[in-house]
């Protein structure tokens, strides 16, 4: 089922101000590095658990990405699950402290190690797990490798119980679902940050979980991206009814902040093309292609050369 989105932003200054206050007050509450983030209410019934935004490392126990849950009249919908079974278990406990309502559904926004492995804890409780069909396929094909690498990085103990959990419900495109008594719009704009990105919009509050599409204050790691598709998806997010954006990484944002991810992608792409066309070799391009506007973002030192390599090799194979 396809849905259409109203281009007009909702009006009403008081509502906007109230939402902005929510955004500013929704800073995560940290007990200490590597501890579970505490769920923070960002809108009525919508909770976000914000990761550190750093690279996965033992000190942060892999709690780097954002995830959240939506408590409706009859049940809970979880959006993304963190990087380990242990985190998934902790997420379930955190939800039980907020509400006695049952967990009805898990939605995985995209295939990336920091988002998928907590799903095993929900599978143990027979909670349905939904993703785009391409995401489910990539999890089946690729995640065993990601899991091996995560075990290497975080250790066996931290990753104990984690396993590749292939979603059992899939969608092929944008659709609207009812889950736990809330209307959720699942938005798929075609291949973007990955082939199967979903963004999840809670229609009653306007909270948008942007998954892999948006990264705030952190360089996105290009893994399975399609840059034109990604830029298009970011533009189309602008015309949704979203009022608060929960990025995959980094602090909550307003809709206009989403554009920064696109600015980075454009500058990166242009820089790599210039170097490639000038005959600059790959190793030198990885050193010399910089995107200075984003050099203070998290992960820049590691992700920037890797992103350059990825785009350079794509140009070479054309």
């Amino acid at each position: 089922m396809r849905i259409r989105w109203k281009a007009a932003a909702r009006s009403g200054a008081p509502a906007v101000i109230a939402m902005l206050m929510l955004v500013t007050s929704a800073r995560p509450v940290w007990a200490g590095p590597g501890d579970m983030p505490v769920p923070v209410a960002v809108a009525q019934g919508v909770y976000v658990m914000q990761g550190s935004g750093d690279a996965v490392a033992p000190a942060n126990r892999g709690i780097v990405a954002n995830n959240g849950f939506i408590v409706g009249a009859s049940g809970v919908t979880v959006i993304d699950t963190g990087s380990s079974y242990r985190y998934g278990r902790a997420l379930i406990e955190a939800i039980h402290k907020v509400t006695p309502l049952p967990i009805e559904l898990v939605i995985i926004t995209h295939q990336a190690a920091e988002f998928v492995f907590g799903a095993s804890a929900f599978r143990d409780q027979d909670v349905p797990i939904l993703a785009h069909r391409r995401t489910a396929e990539l999890i089946r094909e690729r995640c065993a490798i990601c899991l091996t690498k995560l075990r290497r990085t975080l250790g066996e103990e931290e990753m104990a119980g984690s396993r590749v959990t292939v979603p059992d419900r899939t969608v092929d495109g944008s659709t609207q679902i009812e889950s736990g008594g809330r209307q959720l719009a699942l938005l798929h704009f075609g291949p973007a940050s990955t082939p199967g990105d979903l963004a999840v919009l809670d229609t009653s509050t306007g909270v948008l979980f942007a998954g892999g599409l948006v990264s705030v204050g952190r360089i996105p790691e290009l893994r399975n991206e399609n840059i034109p598709g990604w830029l298009d998806a970011l533009q189309r997010l602008q015309v949704t009814d979203a009022r608060i954006v929960v990025p995959g990484f980094g602090p909550l944002a307003e809709k206009q902040d989403v554009a920064q991810t696109g600015v980075y992608l454009r500058q990166l792409d242009a820089g790599v093309r210039r170097a490639y066309e000038a005959g600059v070799g790959l190793t030198e391009a990885m050193h010399s292609v910089q995107v200075p506007d984003f050099s203070r973002y998290k992960l820049y030192a590691v992700a920037q050369p890797q992103n350059v390599q990825r785009l350079y090799l794509q140009l070479e194979n054309q």
């Binding site: 091996t148 190793t283 070479e316």
Partner: protein, 296 residues
């Protein structure tokens, strides 16, 4: 070359079938938790010590070889199947003093010896860039042998932490059918007597025989380029004897010194004895130099 426990067993079968050594088996059974760490002493690595003994006998290897070669490789690689490396020679090739050979050794790879690259005074500069496969966390080292027989090494530690991004696996038959397109491209303007950079690209799956095709769940046989000979005016400038340590679609950047108009020629052989060639005419006249690729 990213392997899980199950694939490791299959790899062992593959190696046995390929005539792999028993010594390799013992090393390969070690779990990643025991793999190299950046703080390890690179000189104490047992596989390197074995190789050094076998290849160089008692000859000393100067581990502070910065005056001869420098090695550049990313500390963190997003894709273990394509890790770019750049070996920079620190002096030009002259008949009286030149780098004769570079050896590539990647400690933790199932086959650590990646091959060698031979140069001559006609190479101009014994610098080389290529892309290699690496296994997890490893020291990667290059040993330069100068014409006086001395050995110098440069070492880098590489963490190949990626793995989520590798393509889901191409159709092997299609990849083989495409194999053999060669591009030989001199870079910049030709000045006689000056080293000129050239890029050689070969479309080839360069399969290890150790990776599972994620679509078919089968292991394909090893199939890779084993020899690359580049000549200018019929004199060798770069000869590579390599294996599947080189990434898919092998890519080499190196130098040669043209002294008069002539033909730059690349001759490539793979493990099925297929031969590929490309040549390009070099002259000091400005104008685009296009290589022609032939598959005899």
């Amino acid at each position: 070359m990213i392997t899980t426990g199950a694939t490791r067993r299959a790899v062992l079968r593959g190696l046995l079938a390929a005539g792999g050594t028993l010594a390799l088996l013992a090393t390969f059974a070690i779990h990643p938790a025991h793999a190299a760490q950046p703080g390890d002493d690179p000189d104490k690595n047992a596989r390197w010590q074995d190789f050094r003994e076998g290849m160089f006998k008692g000859r000393p290897v100067d581990t502070h070889g910065d005056a001869v070669i420098k090695l550049d490789a990313p500390a963190r690689a997003a894709d273990a199947a394509v890790v770019p490396i750049a070996i920079a020679a620190q002096f030009p090739q002259t008949p009286s003093r030149y780098i004769r050979k570079l050896y590539l050794f990647i400690d933790e790879n199932p086959e650590p010896y990646g091959g060698s690259f031979e140069f001559t005074p006609d190479s101009g500069l014994a610098s080389l860039e290529t892309r290699v496969r690496v296994e997890d966390y490893t020291f990667l080292r290059v040993i330069a042998e100068t014409n006086d027989g001395h050995l110098y090494s440069a070492v880098r530690f590489v963490k190949a932490s990626g793995g989520c991004s590798a393509p889901a696996g191409k159709d092997d038959a299609a990849a083989e059918a495409d194999a053999g397109l060669v591009r030989l491209q001199p870079q910049g303007r030709t000045v006689f007597g000056k080293p000129q950079l050239v890029q050689l690209m070969v479309r080839h799956p360069n399969r290890t025989g150790m990776a599972m095709n994620q679509v078919t769940r089968l292991y394909s046989s090893a199939y890779f380029i084993r020899k690359v000979q580049v000549t200018y005016a019929d004199k060798p400038v770069m000869t590579a004897n390599v294996n599947f340590s080189i990434s898919e679609n092998p890519n080499f950047r190196f130098y040669f010194t043209p002294r008069a108009n002539g033909e730059l020629k690349a001759h490539i052989e793979d493990t099925k004895n297929r031969q590929f060639e490309a040549q390009v005419a070099i002259s000091s006249q400005p104008g685009a130099q296009q290589s022609t690729s032939t598959t005899p």
